[in-house]
């Protein structure tokens, strides 16, 4: 059916000229379809060997200081009770990607989910019930084909903002990030050089904060003006667009990256993802991880150091403790005594701190005292 649509569109419109990247992705998708056809013809059970995206299949490369994906794969079979649907879904996503490449269009991953979601004939079951079901399949296809999301003509919902002394060109439009008002420049999902070029940058470093509220505080206090920097946030765990942009700012413009995150296991892990790459998307680490990123805070010692009141403490729960111990064992943390001390102190404290805790001391304490002090003293964790 999809084939027909493509045919008709190519028949009426001028034949599309595929880029080299599109041609490569298409041939990978076709090879995938060919495997299923060949297996069916031979009367064999069609299967896909999908590189596994788990902790057990990531390797810490001490030399490059990033997480790399290992070689183990999970076999996904069509004729396996627990995998049949996932197999079908993987091929659906492949079909969707092929369709997008043929049409020369891109879709958000949510858009693709809507594009592919339909009632399976003769049942009351949908191909996908929720987007949460679709997203991991897209990631599976990325690792399976060794193609990036953008090569499949897909992008994630954008998240994260930027402001600072930099001028860039986004899809041909010149954007001066020092003139973005209170809202800032929304970092797009795809920030590849084809889309975004850096035109002029006077900033000396990048301060990445965890979430929008803290970012707004810094923006309002014109921190980036006073300290000549770029200010970004990723609304929690930063999406790929933000991470890729940080990577480019660091590697292409030579800007150091400082992170100001919550003092809890989740804050540690956000830092870890920016620095070494994520376990789930280990295959993207080489083009996203910034091994030189520094962790400014909050630190476990900040409660005493900054003289905070008891009211800002949030007690650690069981999940927090377990997660903290897990993180302490990650090979990229295990070797670092300072980090081991940091995590141990968090556990000893028995409470966590959000960046907002500093606001309890003074509205602008975090922008006017805490952060400048850390940077000035080069007081950070690596």
């Amino acid at each position: 059916m999809a084939k027909k649509q493509t045919k008709s569109s190519t028949a009426t419109a001028a034949p599309r000229v595929f880029t080299a990247a599109d041609k490569e992705t298409l041939s990978k998708l076709e090879a995938l379809a060919d495997r299923v056809i060949a297996a069916a013809e031979a009367g064999r059970d069609p299967f896909l060997d999908i590189p596994s995206r788990t902790l057990s299949n990531v390797r810490w490369c001490p030399r490059k200081k990033i997480i790399e994906m290992g070689r183990s794969t999970n076999r996904r079979q069509l004729f396996n009770l627990h995998q049949a649907k996932a197999f079908m879904q993987t091929l659906l996503v492949a079909k969707g990607a092929a369709e997008l490449i043929h049409a020369g269009k891109t879709l958000s991953i949510r858009g693709l989910y809507y594009r592919l979601k339909h009632r399976i004939k003769g049942t009351s079951e949908n191909t996908f019930e929720t987007q949460e079901e679709c997203d991991p399949i897209i990631e599976d296809l990325e690792v399976l084909l060794d193609s990036l999301r953008e090569q499949l003509h897909l992008y994630a919902d954008k998240r994260g903002d930027m402001v600072g002394n930099i001028v860039l060109v986004d899809s041909g439009d010149e954007i001066d990030c020092s003139r973005m008002g209170s809202g800032g420049y929304a970092i797009p999902s795809i920030v590849e050089p084809e889309v975004i070029q850096f035109k002029k940058c006077t900033a000396k470093f990048v301060l990445h904060v965890e979430k929008g509220t803290v970012w707004t505080r810094f923006n309002e206090d014109k921190f980036w003006q006073k300290h000549n920097c770029i200010l970004t946030h990723g609304a929690g765990q930063p999406p790929r667009g933000v991470r890729r942009l940080l990577y480019r700012l660091h590697n292409e413009l030579g800007l150091p990256i400082y992170c100001l995150l919550d003092n809890d296991p989740w804050g540690y892990y956000i830092y870890s993802v920016i620095k070494q790459g994520s376990i789930n998307l280990a295959y993207e680490s080489p083009r996203m991880a910034v091994p030189d990123a520094k962790f400014l805070g909050l630190r476990s010692c900040d409660f005493e150091r900054c003289g905070l009141s008891d009211s800002v403490k949030i007690e650690l729960n069981q999940v927090d403790r377990r997660r903290a111990l897990q993180i302490a064992k990650y090979p990229w943390f295990a070797q670092k005594k300072e980090w081991q001390r940091e995590i141990k102190q968090l556990l000893d404290n028995g409470f966590k701190l959000e960046v907002e805790a500093l606001i309890s001391k003074d509205i602008s304490y975090v922008t006017e005292v805490y952060t400048p002090e850390r940077i000035a003293k080069r007081d950070w964790l690596d």
Binding site: V36, I37, A40, G43, L81, A84, L91, E129
Partner: protein, 687 residues
């Protein structure tokens, strides 16, 4: 009619008991503060009690407690005797049962057989005298042990209607048929012949006889030889549990060599044809087995024997005791084999008793007990219950109290309960006849295997009330009830139906007191794939029949409707149930696997279309061909698992299940096709 009549020990004991308590010298008078009567006046009132008189006053002991049961007992006695007579003569039995309502609450029961017939002079004694017969004094398997004899039924008829028993018996095609009208003289326990001036009438063979019978309004089905007994009695006819219909149905099940013709009071005729042309082998009379003898019994046997030596006594009085075994027993007991049995003292007797238990003696000969056999049980069950799976097991002979016995079990699984097969008309009739006070009670008592849960479900579905009077339902309400009966899924609410038999005779009452019910309830059926809550029968569409064949079936009471729970008997019942249980479990596992595979297949099939769509969208190949290939693989995949593996991934040989003691009515093929065409809706599998 049968040549045998019997009476049970319990009744006899009862008679003695009553007689002695009317004895004036009892403790009652001794303790009285003032003398009211003298020994002389008492002596004048003391006299013999006729057995007949005793039974006339204690009719419940004979199974004539109420009009409904009286009808059943009458039919039962007549049919049991007919079957025993035919089998002893080596004739394949064919029995006609005809019940006719002559007036409200008054029925005429006629039972005719194709047995050997009865000699003229024996007829009045057999039908007109209690405690006359041959079965009581021997240790041999027979039906007759259950009842008290046809003469009791005749006596009941006489008491309630004043009509005598009429008997026609013919011993050969060319012999005249003897026609008697007999009644029992209850005072003297002697028969009185009423017709032919106390001599009876001889009906000539051939045309003349037929005409004579027509003239006198006597019904006779033309068989070369046989007996027909007709009794008129006060009774009540009702279908359902404990009914004549149920008795005949169960009798047909346990007696696959019998053809039964039945005409009920409404004129409906039904025939249960025989499933085999082979008569069961004739059971042999045996002596008691030493293992079963109790110390007291052993002492009295020693006293009564004529054997000159203990050695000879042991060989002569018991079965399976060879000279060498007898010698070994004597050695173990430390008694000289040559000592006289009369001189054995209490201590020596006890030593002898213990020596018997310690000595290895072969089990009693099994030819004295004739089981129905697995094959015929399966046949019978198939005719009685519509199910998908049948299994049967016959245990090797065992012994309780020296009496050999055999337990056999049949099991039917699947299919709806009887409720779901009932017609609208039959339901309306049942409702009108019922004496149940509430609708709920009606449903529970009328239908086997329908527990309170099922009854409630049906009533709720029919939008009726539980406490409604079943006889007063409107037409629309009956319609709703009938609809609910046939549609409500009773699989869960249904409890196991247990059919009990002793020497091929159905046991219809006192289920709770019976070793069969008790053992079935105590079994852990969950181990065999059935749901069961503690202390009750398992639930599910299961029918179990348990048959105890023995030279002497131990009943719990004089009413002879429950088997006593001897540990040996319970053990055998349990082992037999376990044997069929294991087969059931294998079947259920297989069925589950088949269902599982069906689901698996439908799951694969539902995604294949999508896969084919996706692939052909990327590569322009023939979608139909691709789909066809994929479907073929799916079928192959599921078929393989289907055939060879059970849920643990072990190989299952089907021959293991199909060893002749099992019948499976396979509806799998249809089910699978249905699953393939319209995949059923089910939750998405976890990824």
């Amino acid at each position: 009619m049968g040549t045998n009549k019997e009476i049970a020990t319990q009744v006899e004991d009862g008679a003695r008991l009553v007689a002695s308590s009317s004895d004036g010298k009892g403790p009652g008078t001794a303790l009285a503060p003032r003398r009211r009567v003298t020994a002389q006046t008492l002596a004048a009132a003391q006299r013999d009690i006729s057995v007949s008189e005793f039974f006339a006053k204690n009719r419940h002991l004979l199974g004539f407690d109420n009009p409904r049961k009286a009808l059943l007992t009458t039919v039962k006695e007549a049919v049991d005797n007919a079957l025993d007579a035919c089998e002893e003569a080596g004739i394949l039995p064919e029995v006609w049962v005809e019940i006719e309502e002559v007036a409200p609450n008054r029925y005429r029961v006629a039972v005719q057989d194709n047995g050997p017939g009865i000699l003229k002079k024996q007829i009045p004694l057999i039908f007109g005298k209690l405690l006359y017969g041959s079965k009581f004094h021997r240790l041999r398997m027979s039906r007759g042990q259950q009842g008290i004899g046809i003469s009791a039924a005749g006596m009941y008829g006489l008491l309630t209607t004043g009509k005598p028993v009429s008997i026609i018996s013919k011993t050969g095609p060319d012999n005249p048929a003897h026609y008697y009208e007999v009644q029992i003289d209850t005072k003297r326990n002697v028969p009185q012949i009423l017709n032919g001036k106390g001599e009876g009438v001889d009906i000539p063979p051939g045309e003349a006889g037929v005409r004579w019978m027509q003239r006198h309004g006597i019904r006779w089905i033309d068989v070369p030889h046989g007996t027909r007994v007709t009794i008129e009695l006060e009774a009540r006819y009702q279908r359902g549990r404990g009914s004549v219909d149920e008795y005949l149905e169960m009798t047909a099940l346990a007696n696959p060599h019998v053809t039964l013709h039945y005409r009920d009071p409404e004129g409906n005729e039904k025939t249960y044809p025989r499933a085999t042309e082979e008569l069961p082998p004739e059971p042999k009379e045996i002596k008691p087995h030493p293992y079963g003898v109790e110390l007291g019994a052993l002492v009295s046997m020693l006293q009564e024997t004529n054997a000159p030596t203990v050695h000879q006594f042991l060989i002569g009085a018991f079965s399976r005791v060879t000279p060498s075994i007898a010698k070994r027993i004597c050695e173990t007991a430390g008694i000289s084999p040559r000592s006289s049995p009369k001189r054995i003292g209490p201590e020596e007797a006890e030593a002898l008793y213990r020596a018997i238990q310690e000595t290895k003696i072969p089990p009693p000969a099994s030819d004295c007990v004739v089981p129905i056999g697995e094959k015929l049980i399966l046949e019978g069950l198939r005719q009685l219950v519509k199910a998908e799976f049948y299994a049967a097991a016959t245990r090797p002979p065992a012994v309780y109290r020296g009496n050999p016995f055999v337990i056999e079990v049949g099991l039917a699984y699947g299919g709806g309960p009887t409720v779901q097969r009932i017609t609208r008309e039959a339901l309306a009739e049942l409702l009108a006849e019922s004496d149940a006070r509430t609708l709920r009670q009606f449903l529970i008592t009328q239908f086997d295997g329908l527990g309170p849960v099922g009854a409630d479900k049906i009533i709720q579905e029919a939008k009726l009330k539980r406490r409604m009077n079943p006889a007063k339902l409107s037409t629309a309400e009956i319609d709703r009830l009938h609809h609910a009966l046939s549609t409500v899924n009773l699989q869960e609410g249904q409890t196991m139906t247990v059919l009990r038999f002793a020497n091929r005779v159905p046991l219809q009452f006192q289920a709770g007191a019976c070793a069969i019910t008790q053992t079935t309830t105590q079994m852990n059926w969950r181990a065999y794939g059935l749901a069961q809550s503690k202390g009750s029968l398992p639930t599910g569409p299961v029918t179990v029949m348990v048959h105890m064949a023995s030279v002497w079936v131990p009943f719990t009471s004089e009413s002879k409707e429950a088997i006593a729970a001897y540990p040996e008997i319970q053990r055998e019942i349990r082992l037999a149930l376990q044997a069929v249980g294991r087969k059931l479990k294998m079947y259920l596992l297989r069925r589950q696997r088949v269902q599982h595979e069906g689901q698996r297949r439908s799951l694969f099939l539902r995604y294949l279309g999508e896969v084919a769509d996706a692939v052909t969208a990327i590569r322009p190949v023939d979608r139909e061909r691709l789909l066809e290939r994929l479907v073929a693989i799916a079928r192959k995949k599921t078929a393989e698992a289907d055939m060879k593996l059970d849920e643990h991934g072990r190989f299952v040989e089907d021959s293991e299940l199909l060893d002749g003691s099992v019948i499976i009515v396979d509806e799998r093929q249809q089910g699978e096709e249905a699953a393939a065409v319209t995949p059923q809706v089910q939750e998405a599998p976890a990824r």
